[in-house]
Symmetry: C2
Subunit: 628 residues, 2 copies
């Protein structure tokens, strides 16, 4: 009879589009029956550890959340709003799992999203309150394993696949192979629920329901520049909330540049004291740990970039002797933009500085992430004409010195069991050999080098990197730069502006001669549709795809600060997130995506306070679309 009931529901209201879910899961089928979330929603985990031969249902143990009698470990973690956190809390996979479950329990039972925008005006779209409520039962998670100890590299390599099944009667099961898989399942589960406008509770309208899901790529990243304008840790925590809701997995903090050094390094205190925009704005070590731990609890690896040897001028505010061409007024000779300054290239003081810096930084970030970014983009050769340790702008002179410097720092990163990432110029323009002995899990099995190469200039360069056998991140500026199209920030305005190393009209990059002085090198603005249909695999042969770790969408912040951060990031970074999770999209998918993405947007606004921009006009959402 139960089976027949399900069949009847399926016949009456089977839905196969992924209404409400972003990113789109691999498979999704649902009915149209409502299930209400009980105020005391129970989510339990059963784990099959190496030490267990069968599922151990721990329904009343450490993992039962939201019963009121349970240790609220999450509140003890260094997370958003907990200003007393020191960042030294010992994390475990158990604690992470527990935090994730508690977050979802709260999200499901207290979401404020009333989805009126997705129905015709004044239409009744909610469960009829005069009907008896059917409640969701205990959500049972069957997780195949739980690591006894937390190892960031192992954690972020876990299988992210999961399934969800919910019957019309309220039985809900989640299966996963790991904590990371459970986190992804719960992020999906949260998106199934809405608030009733009467205030009488939350419900899902999609029962019975079945979802199977697994990501296309593991590195689903956002590169956020926190050096060009000042950001607080809270700005980043809010960003992590939105990233998690879109199942992003990597937050790349571009944490130093010529303009400021916002991160406190205790062994080099002058760096942030003099190099932050104001010393009071510098992030403490606890701030950084808090942001990383919060990412970890959301399944996001938060790693930092210390850019070098270019984009390092802000070191000069504290240590002018380490920097050549520090804040030269003739900036266009020495850098892609004001201000100028690069690490001197053949200076023992620079090496001493880097040793001190990395000895301080790396042990502090490595509990939370497996990654470290060494920069390497847009090195300006002219700056070394002013460097008394080299006095040359010849690539032949400079190349071995750049090789030595980058080998030194990637070696330090390797030694700390972190995976180095560098920008593509180091490989393609400077022809470096990069970190031939990678960290555990870093070296590929086919003779690939340990460093991951981040490509930002073109699809053609992506292919070149792959052909050299390196692992790679995609996301070039003609597709995935969120800062483009607002015009240059130089007064009165730049004309014919081009980034270093990118001549006009070459295969290495798409920019054409800029005739309109109000454009910038990477105009036009990349709207969400543009970002959504970017195909990173174009021209990539399938035999090379295994080297693609994933990609990143980028926000450089010369013209963004905390006030407009959310609008610059969202919903566009979420459009990228679906490409990264679900694989390349095409134009025919835009129509379906617009409604799902619009719903995702409403959810992050009301539930996370993220000020995401508009996906589509309300009229289009309510009237069934605005399509050609």
């Amino acid at each position: 009879m139960a089976l027949l009931g399900v069949v009847l529901v399926v016949l009456c209201g089977l839905i196969t589009s992924s209404q409400g879910l972003w990113p789109e899961p691999v498979t999704f089928t649902s009915g149209a029956s409502a299930l209400w979330a009980p105020p005391q929603l129970e989510i339990a985990v059963a784990c099959q550890n190496e030490t267990y031969s069968s599922y151990d249902v721990r329904g009343q143990s450490l993992y039962v959340i939201a019963r009121g009698f349970f240790l609220d470990l999450y509140s003890q973690l260094p997370y958003r709003g907990n200003s007393s956190a020191t960042g030294n809390v010992q994390l475990s996979e158990q604690a992470i799992l527990q935090a994730s479950i508690q977050r979802s329990q709260k999200a499901i039972t207290s979401t404020k999203l009333v989805p009126w925008k997705f129905f015709r005006r004044n239409e009744a779209f909610e469960p009829d309150l005069s009907e008896p409520k059917v409640f969701l039962g205990k959500v049972q998670i069957y997780q195949a394993s739980l690591a006894p100890n937390l190892d960031a590299a192992a954690f972020f390599a876990e299988d992210e696949s999961y399934t969800i099944s919910i019957t019309a009667e309220g039985t809900a099961n989640i299966t996963s192979n790991s904590t990371l898989g459970t986190i992804r399942a719960l992020q999906t589960f949260e998106q199934l629920f809405y608030a009733h406008s009467s205030g009488s509770g939350t419900y899902t309208p999609y029962a019975p329901l079945s979802i199977q899901d697994t990501p296309q790529w593991t590195h689903r990243g956002l590169n956020l520049d926190i050096a060009r304008n000042p950001y607080s840790p809270d700005d980043v925590l809010r960003t992590i909330d939105a990233m998690a809701s879109a199942k992003m997995s990597r937050l790349h903090l571009h944490a130093s540049d010529a303009q400021s050094w916002p991160i406190t390094v205790p062994s080099l205190p002058a760096l942030a004291a003099a190099g932050a925009y104001q010393s009071s704005l510098a992030w403490s070590t606890a701030d950084l740990a808090k942001v990383q731990a919060y990412g970890l609890c959301n399944g996001i690896s938060v790693f930092i970039e210390i850019d070098m040897p270019g984009h390092s001028g802000s070191i000069g505010y504290a240590y002018p002797d380490l920097i050549t061409a520090f804040n030269e007024s003739d900036w266009s000779t020495f850098a892609a933009e004001p201000g100028t300054g690069q690490l001197k290239l053949n200076s023992s003081a620079v090496y001493d500085f880097l040793q001190t810096l990395f000895a301080d930084l790396l042990p502090r970030v490595s509990p939370y992430t497996q990654l470290f970014h060494n920069g390497g983009d847009e090195v300006n050769v002219n700056a070394f004409l002013l460097d008394e340790t080299v006095r040359s702008n010849s690539s032949e002179v400079l190349q071995p010195l750049v090789q030595k410097l980058m080998s030194y720092v990637t070696g330090l990163v390797d030694t700390a069991s972190l995976q180095p990432i560098v920008w593509e110029e180091m490989l393609l323009d400077w022809n470096l050999t990069l970190s031939p002995t990678g960290p555990p899990g870093g070296s590929g099995s086919n003779g690939t080098a340990g460093a991951i190469i981040q490509v930002w200039r073109s699809s053609a360069n992506l292919l070149l990197v792959l052909q050299k056998g390196y692992r790679v991140l995609f996301g070039d500026y003609t597709h995935w730069y969120l800062d483009c199209g607002h015009g240059g920030f130089i007064n009165p305005y730049p004309t014919g502006f081009s980034p270093p190393g990118i001549p006009y009209n070459t295969s290495g990059g798409v920019p054409t001669q800029i005739s309109d002085p109000f454009l910038d090198y990477c105009s036009p603005l990349k709207n969400w549709r543009h970002i959504y249909v970017y195909d990173p695999l174009v021209n990539i042969t399938s035999d090379l795809e295994y080297l693609i770790e994933g990609g990143e969408v980028h926000l450089w912040t010369e013209q963004t600060d905390p006030v407009d951060l959310d609008q610059k990031l969202w919903p566009r970074a979420a459009a990228a997130a679906e490409v990264l999770w679900s694989g390349p999209r095409n134009a025919s998918m835009i129509e379906g995506a617009s409604k799902r993405l619009a719903e995702w947007r409403e959810r992050v606004i009301v539930d996370h306070g993220v000020g995401a921009g508009v996906v589509q006009m309300t009229w289009c959402l309510m009237e069934g679309g605005c399509d050609l």
Copy 2:
């Protein structure tokens, strides 16, 4: 000795750039002495009325604010945050003046703007607290006249010029010829003050100081579309705060369109009940009155546009019989965008409807404004093929009917002593004769027609309108459309999109063939520098300039809603505000403007909660500029 002191200060620290002031005043000179605002700052007004033969210093009368013993009339006005306001408060110029003074008193003594971003990092830039504080004395306003009764048309025609003088010893005088002039003076005065980071008070660093100021144009407007996406009255009140701070004088609410009808009309209750996105989102009559009254108290005339005969489809949700081509799925045949629908052109029911509508609306809006906008843009001739009252798309057939309709509604507007405004198509494309007998103050003295023509397509059209002898508003889409550059909102995306009546590559408009599917007809995005150097007088001979009322910067909101409203509007609308107040700018002024506009931006963020976007990177502001 006092004079000598002033001379010494002038020699030591004369500043002639308008630091901190936006828009730029006609003349500005200042020293570099600090004056502190006393917590009980006193601002008094002396008025020379027709009935007074000399200045009557009313220091202890109705006009003294912030002493604690005084009637706080402002709090009784229907203003932001006062939800109990009915909108029926009797306003007077005295009350408006008083409200403005109280607002400024609060702003001066409680601003939160610490201007650290405009000085080098960790530099000391504030008054030394170990020095004795010199306090600002009573601010004495000498206002030449005060109208005994409030008449909106007369009020908004008042002389806006003013002077401010402040001595190093703290004597402060304002002179003006009217309440409106005093309001502008106080808006400037507020911008002279900063918060000390110690929390020990607010100060101006610019004493002694002298300002003389008067605007270039009276109509300094913003056109905000509140029909494409839903906005609350609070969103508009916040917008008025920012407008006032930039000395804008006109808020044009595009209050109806095909997508929604957000304004409640009691005599036609179905209009908003069925036509708003949700009936609960419709503005009440009190909401509209509150917004208008708040504008009035800030020297801003808030007027509404009821667009017709095009862009009127939302009437069809309530009254389908009045609308032809209502929500046709083949939208591109019948409108510039989804949804479709126009008022039927030869229908007595339509005339009855308009009579009822205007009899309700006009008496309610006219206490607060002298203006009313009748629309008239983008009339689609094909929609009338489906109109059983005409069944034609021939301009010859339609023209006399459009003339009759628009003459009827502008006649109603005239009769209500309001000044009609219509879009340029009515004159240039349809060759209408518009409102030959304007309202008091409306008709020009040189045989000009009563209607003001709003040009939006090109500078060439601006000239055409002027040559026909009509008064005009500038602000075309190639320069002052804030919605451009984000790509079309149609799925998957439009190609070769062009607004009706604008063929590619014509003198009537600048758009070129769109080859990139991610652009829109008015790409690229208009950044603040682009908006700032728009010269509305290009190609206009000086003999025609007297017909220019001013202009408007436009935000159509297909892709904007309350969440990203502020970022779309600001700082860009403020860039337009300086053009409107100070006259046409040029590229050489951008460098100086970037710092002043950036300071204005910081002020509206911290003091008004307006989420304005970035003007320039913090590094550029701190390091003295980022200039070519």
